[in-house]
Symmetry: C3
Subunit: 666 residues, 3 copies
């Protein structure tokens, strides 16, 4: 377990390196990430590679015992490259180039960027393969789909489609291009979605997103192959930006050693509670990418700000608490962005741990304390992992399909994912968030939000889980389409109707209109976005609509099937509904939960062998109290705590659980 | 009187046609519209026409007694045509082409689209001229101005101006181009309004709109001539989209047999009452286009949705009630869009009568009932017509002129038209909405909102009506400009000042600020948008402003002139003002009205010879009661109703009036 | 002191000139501005100059004793010029040309516009140099940065940078281009900021703004040189548009004889009070440009309106009162826009003194009264000037730097300037608003808002003022950057920390969140935008934060230094705070103030020799009373007023102060 910072030797006079290294060492930092934007220094002109300055810098830090992760600089092609090889620049849907000036001004399919990227990565990899300070690599920086419409992308897109569909007839058939005379009679009629309009065939648009992901993955693979060959003992990762994301992170990280996340929890006081839950989802998603522990490659050190107004500064305790949240949910290394704020360039108000004044202040003192703690607990926590008992399914295809065709006002795939995950987190249920394509065998409770794109494979996998005793929770908009984004001709939820014991007789996209459901016990909850009017075929109704023309009709059902159960939720209700439903479903299916958590207090568990470490985080500005139900050893305080645990604002507590209780149910 | 559906044989496996035809027949459907987007199937490559599949489809339906309207496919040029002849694509104000992918990607002036359209229309027309199933044609689909800025459009625009003005001197003079050195010294200096800015000469912008309408009309005329020649016994129509519209529908429909409307009343509960009144205006406008009955070529069958979020589903009774509203206001045929929801393409969530599941549901059952009723009443209602007693004047020139130069915050020409028409509809006054250029002799009550563009011809026509006894209601912004969109140098309302007996001393564009007027009887109403400060010259003041520096000044006047009266309303008041004013004006001028209608309940009358059929529609979600003042025969229920008529939500009642009462005044 | 109108002889039939001239003369008008948009009439085709019509017009007015200011027409190049020399048109960041159709369609660096402008200005200047009616010139119209990205501008920008920095190395160093590999290795890699994104190096963006200003100044200088040569006895001015402005007006007006302002105070009732204070700032800024009296070249005559909705009409008294406000704050001549509303063109609803009807109405009568008054008082007021006792510092560089990098939500440099100036105006303190580079020696009280860009020169000048006894008020975001827009590495407020006796330990960009400060006397004020947490080093704390994690920390300090004092305000508080603070600071530093002004009532003083004239303006819709504390002679009423002075809505009072009281303190 390491702690590090992002450092830009090229931003500072080399006379400052030594003192920075010394202060880092003294603070407990053992790692820096460097060079991911430094192409213009590493290759100041075509073919002239200048690594001496970086050698010097790395050596200074190495001398002070600090290891190094090198970023490949392909995110920022230098001006000489762009000037001489303009195919490097991506072109938007109006065919305007994206000009240099910030970052990411490179078309993933550009022949020139590929050639020059391969060259510099090979040079760097060869040069640093044996350097004792260098332990691994980050490829590029925060990949995203860049929606390039250049000629090369157009060609590649056609090739991609040719490979996928084989013939134009198959493509026309799969996409249903007959609508509006959209049938292609030559391949050259197909283009990227020029013009930027969303008035397009949804099958085409979804394939376009998939092609774009594949372009990124291919661009990364070029670099990865070189790194694997030259540096077989180094790890290779990529620092992803946060969710939601059109780019398929599962594909992106498939060949990497682990995922890394750039994590900037919001500092705004209004969002301070919800932000912590969204962060929990982001971290669980990141852990789910490769279903293993990950790195934080950047995280908040001060107020972010740039071309946009600065955020609030992090409250006292905020930086530390959110750093511990990362570890609680599976981060093994924390790299803070950045050591010191940049004095120049577009990001000069994205504050580092140390301000422009170069006088370490309140935030730095807090960071110093964090370093002490992490370094102290590292031997205990190293090798431990987070094992969710429930699973939430997620997919970038679903995200993209819903973005292409919004279903109802206010209905957003990812916002609903947040809602469900927040209810699970508040219920104290340890949750994994995994790809729909993943193996789900070990979960007793599976929440599958809006499996809008559904095929027999996915349906069969889920049905097998249920047959074997799992509880499956389905929602509205399940089974609507095949993977080509074409509607199935069957009653919803289609392939899962039998298992759910229910079909959708009719639906009303109620959008932002608020309706009500009533539970068996008389309790009511508001709902909105969508109302499926259900027709049970074996399932038991557990909630009915209270109003509108579908008053009295079933809204939520449950069906005992095989050894398990299938819930079908035909609407999107307020949080209280999910707290009840998930709590009951967890209890019935034998999933542990830590009940009674105050708003904004989160728990997680890391396990190693038979040892379990419970993290309790107060991610709020208020004092809170949690009932532990027993007395435990606090690893941070090195004293006993409990049964009542008082938590200051942004307090962090880590207790070693007793073997036979995991943690007590309440 | 017919009932039909929009059907896309090319979207379905041909094995489904027969079962669809049988179910249609069983449901009472006697008509389908086909092929209006099927160019890529009708001419899969240049010059290869493939009508066999359509023959097969039509024959299947014909076998089951179903007639066919064919749409010409010029709205969706196929990819091969666009690829080979890129002049087909319109170009926006930044000269970006509109790419294919949805519809309407054709420049009306493109030589290529014209040639290929003529060819395929001639082929289709010749082929289907004698087919016993085919009864008529729809040209293209939902024409609108496409604001094309291609070179051809630029040339055509210059030719159009040359024809209109003869010389540059005349044009410079008419437009006042001397402002800001905008004078043209060669014709080539004139272009379409590139750049998309609205900072332009308003005379130029209004002529640009007129040119655009003429381009559409010319494009339609090419097709119409062919259809007239080849199919002299078939009708030809066009399905217009709703109002407001820059394209001049009066010009568009001049040579057509009748107008058709695509009618999608809003399903949102907040707009459920206002939506019914806006729909009434749309229908009255459509009837006014050719001053005769019309068709509904598309109407709502389920929740619309596409690239935008889906609407609410229609409430029970909604589809039927709004279908009857169409008939009540002059529709002779109803064609519902569409038979079954498309499984693919961009419009797959624009729901048909049958859902993707292909299981007929609640909406289909309601539609089946509608078919029964319409077919049952068809012999009675066929040949009847709607004859408004009052007239509201409307013009696309006015709409465009106000769009070019908004007068005050919150002042919108069409929104005010809605306000006035809604007050008339609520007052139970049968109203026609007609072009300002129409003959108005038969109306006793004429509402002329904001005749901003005014010349002697129009003024004289109105003055003649008043001289002959009509009541004319004028509003603020009357007589401001000549038809070239240039201000008259005269006190407002200019040519109508004498008849109105009043001039505008000064005005205040009050916008969204709310002011008050007080009537002679002390009653007050709020007003906003605009305050003309009036100076009566013979007219009697009937309302005064209550506040601001013009407190105590006249706001509304009436002037007895000739045999009639002229009201001048210098502001835009709240609805209550118009309910009072129009009610009084109707009573004074001998216009019948059905007083006492509850909010959201609409009436209309269709007459045939001496028979009159009163439609009473409850277009709300509530039960309502209407006092008929007598006992009548309900055509739908085939029993007596009245004197009190109880109406369920979305209830429809049609009663035969007794000859000598038309309907009783109340 | 003169009074005039903007007149467009080319808009009217020449038969109307005579009657217009006669009515002007009768009204008291002695001046017209003409021809600034008349290029297409002055040079209808290349090289054919036609000044006869203008001679005729000028002669008509001259005959009636009316003098003339001629505008050079370079703002509206005619169509023939644009057509033949398309380099005239500026190109936006997407390289789209700005098409003719309105105004300002000329790239300042275009070789063609420069050549043709020089030619026509030379022709005009030679022609009118000796005309007895012509007294001066206005160059172009309402210059602004046009953000042109044409090739010429790109070349010129590179030349400008070469001249400024000498070498690419120096430029790379100064801008910190090393960030994100932005280093330039050839000059041709530098371009104008194509693409329109704000994700750019802030140093580069600030230089781009400076280059743009220099382009305008150079374009103006071409014309000015000709005018100086041909018309040595004529004045030359330019009519600036209002603030805030990216274009540096100080540089623009450096070589002109005086500044002129186009002044359109808002008529909206909600903004009627704040509008008067914003206007006061605009006028004080304009007077500060050259630190002398100025002209109003356009001002409100009726409701403005154009392609946007019309504003409210000016209330009775509004036109007159705001005209007097101009004089009160240093205007020596008033030219109203415009004589009569244009019947055609894009600006036809930007109303003149006379409406389209050509019937003089209420507004004209008010204007007539204004003319009488100004002409009557002219002998008394001529030669008097406004001398502020306090100074507010302003700079276009600061404005641009904050626009490039907004610091916090809701924090706006110019809005804060308004806040401070409004508090000064309400406090009755006579205030100059001057460039940060100006000499400040004569001020006892200097408010220096957010000196974000700071160097030793500016710091030393301010320190000298303080040493010599002045009170300096600094705010948050002082000393952040060097003039290259690069952060200093020092504790804030940097070069002024010692004089302020305080440093910023930390800051929180609180944005729109509202916090509270408490003063020494227990009084509290809300604050927002930004909270500096201060660490006094010699300064006395006079306000502390009340909440959040920095509760109890210093927010405002004062430091006695040299003979003077330095206040440091670490946040942006509500107005009440500044009323207290500025009032106290004024009293302590011996700055006179007129206490007790009601909301919306403004005062100013013009002095001539030993005479002082106090202007009291009620710029509200309400009656107000001001305590004069004595009896004075009213110049307008020619009778004694006071000690209580009752003011009707929009009332104006001008009293001659008694020599030995200046005006009484209260």
């Amino acid at each position: 377990m390491k702690i590090g910072v992002d450092y830009y030797p090229e931003h500072w006079d080399c006379s400052m390196w030594e003192q920075d290294a010394m202060l880092m060492r003294e603070t407990g930092i053992s790692l820096i990430r460097v060079a991911e934007f430094a192409w213009s220094r590493l290759e100041p002109e075509q073919g002239r590679y200048e690594f001496g300055w970086l050698d010097d810098a790395i050596n200074v830090f190495f001398k002070h015992g600090i290891q190094v992760v090198i970023g490949t600089p392909s995110c920022t092609p230098p001006n000489w490259l762009v000037e001489r090889f303009p195919d490097v620049l991506p072109r938007d849907a109006m065919l305007h180039p994206k000009y240099p000036g910030i970052r990411g001004h490179r078309c993933y399919n550009s022949p020139s960027i590929r050639v020059f990227t391969e060259r510099i990565v090979e040079k760097l990899a060869s040069h640093y393969a044996k350097h004792p300070a260098v332990i691994g690599w980050q490829i590029d920086n925060e990949f995203s789909l860049n929606e390039c419409h250049c000629e090369i992308c157009n060609e590649r897109f056609r090739e991609w489609l040719l490979k996928k569909y084989g013939t134009l007839e198959a493509l026309n058939q799969a996409w249903g291009t007959v609508v509006w005379s959209g049938e292609y009679s030559t391949w050259t009629q197909i283009s990227t979605p020029f013009g930027g309009t969303s008035f397009r065939n949804p099958s085409y648009l979804l394939d376009w997103k998939r092609f774009e992901t594949d372009s990124v993955v291919e661009f990364q693979q070029l670099q990865l192959s070189i790194l694997r060959k030259c540096c077989p003992n180094h790890f290779v990762t990529h620092n992803i930006w946060s969710y939601p994301m059109s780019l398929d992170y599962y594909k992106l990280c498939e060949e990497l050693d682990f995922a890394s996340l750039d994590y900037y929890p919001g500092t705004s006081p209004e969002k301070s509670v919800s932000g912590g839950y969204n962060g929990a989802l982001t971290l669980d998603l990141t852990r789910g990418i490769k279903r293993r522990n990950f790195w934080i490659m950047e995280t908040i050190s001060g107020p972010p700000g740039c071309w946009f107004p600065m955020w609030r500064t992090p409250q006292p305790g905020f930086i530390r608490a959110f750093a511990w949240q990362c570890i609680a949910r599976g981060a093994d290394t924390l790299v803070h962005f950045r050591w010191r704020s940049a004095p120049f360039g577009a990001e000069q108000f994205w504050h580092g741990l140390i301000d422009h004044s170069n006088v370490p202040g309140r935030r730095f003192e807090e960071y110093r304390m964090l370093c002490d703690e992490v370094n102290r607990l590292s031997p205990v926590l190293a090798g431990s992992e987070v094992l969710g008992e429930a699973a939430v399914l997620h997919s970038h295809d679903l995200y993209n399909a819903f973005a292409i065709q919004p279903q109802a006002e206010g209905m957003d795939y990812f916002d609903n994912l947040k809602l469900y995950h927040r209810a699970l987190t508040k219920s104290g249920i340890l949750t994994d968030v995994v790809n729909t394509t993943d193996n789900l065998e070990r979960y007793r409770l599976i929440i599958a939000p809006s499996l809008y794109l559904l095929d027999e494979n996915l349906a069969d996998k889920l049905k097998n889980c249920v047959k074997n005793g799992a509880t499956l929770i389905l929602t509205n908009r399940t089974g609507v389409k095949n993977p080509n984004n074409v509607c199935w001709i069957h009653p919803l939820p289609g392939q899962l109707a039998e298992a759910a014991g229910v079909t959708v007789a009719e639906y009303d996209p109620v959008g932002n209109d608020v309706h009500t459901i009533r539970m068996t016990d008389g309790k009511t909850h508001t709902c909105s976005q969508w109302c499926d009017i259900l027709e049970p075929a074996g399932a038991e109704t557990i909630a009915w609509y209270e109003d509108d023309f579908f008053a009295g009709k079933p809204a939520v059902t449950v069906h005992a099937w095989g050894e398990g159960k299938v819930y079908y939720i035909g609407t999107v209700a307020e949080e209280s509904f999910y707290l009840d439903l998930f709590g009951n479903a967890a209890d019935e299916s034998g999933v542990t939960r830590f009940a009674g958590l105050p708003e904004g207090v989160q728990i997680s568990i890391r396990r190693k062998g038979t040892a379990s470490y419970l993290f309790v985080l107060n991610l709020t500005r208020k004092k809170q109290t949690v009932e532990l139900g027993g007395v435990y050893l606090s690893l941070l305080r090195e004293e006993s705590v409990g049964p009542a645990l008082d938590l200051d604002p942004y307090a962090v507590e880590i207790v070693k659980l007793v073997e036979d209780d995991i943690f007590r149910k309440k």
